[in-house]
Homo-oligomer: 351 residues x 2
Amino acid sequence: MSRQHTLLMPLDMHLHLRDGVMLETVAPLSSYTFSGAVVMPNLVPPITSKESLLAYKERVLLACGYGVDSDNFEDGDGLGGSDFEPLMTLFYQNYSEDFLQEVRDDIFAIKLYPAGITTNSEGGVESFDIETMRPTLEAMARMDIPLLVHGETDGFVMDREAEFMSIYKLLAENFPDLKIVMEHITTMAAVDMLERHENLYATITIHHLLITLDDVAGGMLAPHLFCKPIAKRPEDREALLKVALEAHPKVMFGSDSAPHPQHRKEACGCAAGVFTAPIALQLLCELFDKHGKLENLQNFVSDNAQNIYGICPEFKEVILENKEFKIPERYGEVVPIYAGKTIAWSIEDVI
Amino acid sequence: MSRQHTLLMPLDMHLHLRDGVMLETVAPLSSYTFSGAVVMPNLVPPITSKESLLAYKERVLLACGYGVDSDNFEDGDGLGGSDFEPLMTLFYQNYSEDFLQEVRDDIFAIKLYPAGITTNSEGGVESFDIETMRPTLEAMARMDIPLLVHGETDGFVMDREAEFMSIYKLLAENFPDLKIVMEHITTMAAVDMLERHENLYATITIHHLLITLDDVAGGMLAPHLFCKPIAKRPEDREALLKVALEAHPKVMFGSDSAPHPQHRKEACGCAAGVFTAPIALQLLCELFDKHGKLENLQNFVSDNAQNIYGICPEFKEVILENKEFKIPERYGEVVPIYAGKTIAWSIEDVI
């Protein structure tokens, strides 16, 4: 009989759900296997008000099949009883303390993008002037609102994350009470930061544990593995693997799953983003099992995040089985990572 | 009045013409502005016999519009009087001295590919065992047949060329009388080799003087700038620019222009190669002019190669003008570098 492995309340601590038809395609794929996900705010326009945040949360829940204060949805059981919780984020700007007070109960965190660094980040931070940012960041620290950061400079593509370490240092030292999460880290340099600053944490994607730049551009060019931050060097992947497989208490799984329609990926000018959400748990099981570290996966995909953020996710039990699974060629218009390939673990049941 | 700049007998010392319809599309574009070009042998199957070499040369000349010993072609004037000479190469294998004697007068050089390293290189060298290669390489040295090398290991994509330097060293030291050309170099490491070994030379493409990995994968993914060796770091490009702009006597222009049909570039699994041949001289003029080094371009695009190889190209005078030129979106099925963009120099006349 195939081996099984059960994960309790898996959490995706970094997820792009987009909007409209794309949201309707991808949201149910995440809500099926995850208890919750941190939903990124880089829409067009980005989420910067309470109204747009609440309206987006409602659209997310609707797309997942849950009615909001309503019994109109067959699969829905209202916000309270839903078994998937979208953890909503605001797009970082210099916000007033009053505004932050007003949205405190509705937001999980605030996500900071340097301007122009990735998809829909044009309205992000232009320069990291600490004194300009101080009132907002100190208010966030007082209110225990975590700061999630896309940490890249506008330098040479292979150096962008490593160059950003000085900014993480500045933020960590100036705001010691602020919880700062280095999102989707890709380098040894970022891993090293975890030991240097108590208030720095990190999310790691599944694709950055699996691929390097070789997989993107070493053979044929592979647009479906092209993402930001770009996959780095073998020694960087090793450093990420080490902390993920040991489920270092400061690292959490965040897929950064980012859907784009096929025609935007296989084109002259391919958009950045790898779509992994519906197969992330299977790939993680395969990877952790291969390294004999399956016992650490629960911490990596849920418990660490619960401890870091102090959250209690909706109950969910995902039973995975060591049974071959052929990754679909497409989910709607979206081509997933490793489309058409067969992997060693599949989802047997979700309770 | 616009400034003009005349180039005499431009040579493209590294060119892919392919075969069939593609050859018919691209060959006339090179023969229009170049006096000669080193034609790469990585067809399917590769050129490894006298028969296939001569037959390919005939197809190349036909595609250029020149008849071979024939008056049937309006634009042709026979091999002797043609104003474009395809400099034919064999695909490296361990050849016997007898065979090399037999083909000596028909070949310009022999091109070595490590197995599987780029397009159609599957039959290349599996391992660099010097003693196995010695009889062939010593015979080539005696017969003054240059060895042209695609110098990449199968390591991490950004390290492949630098890792190959130990093999260049081995070749250069074991065969001091063999002329070895490091083809399409992309790194500071390769530039440094020029000073270390007397018998090492190099070709440099126009695209590696213009782009870095940032242009390929730093913004959107740019399949039409994806090539092998992949464009490297800014400091590598600076090192290449330095020796190109000063027309270092050991470096020559070789476009490595490599056409693929559009559907093979804008796809899941994009083929490697940048198509530059028809706009290479215009881009070179723009680049050298921008750096105030136009006076060195003649050496870079012709005289250095004449001196290194001891060749006398067909007469051709290409008059370029400092007048805007919009790069076509397409040449047949092939999308060129910078398709649709306007550059500062155009070809005014070819005499």
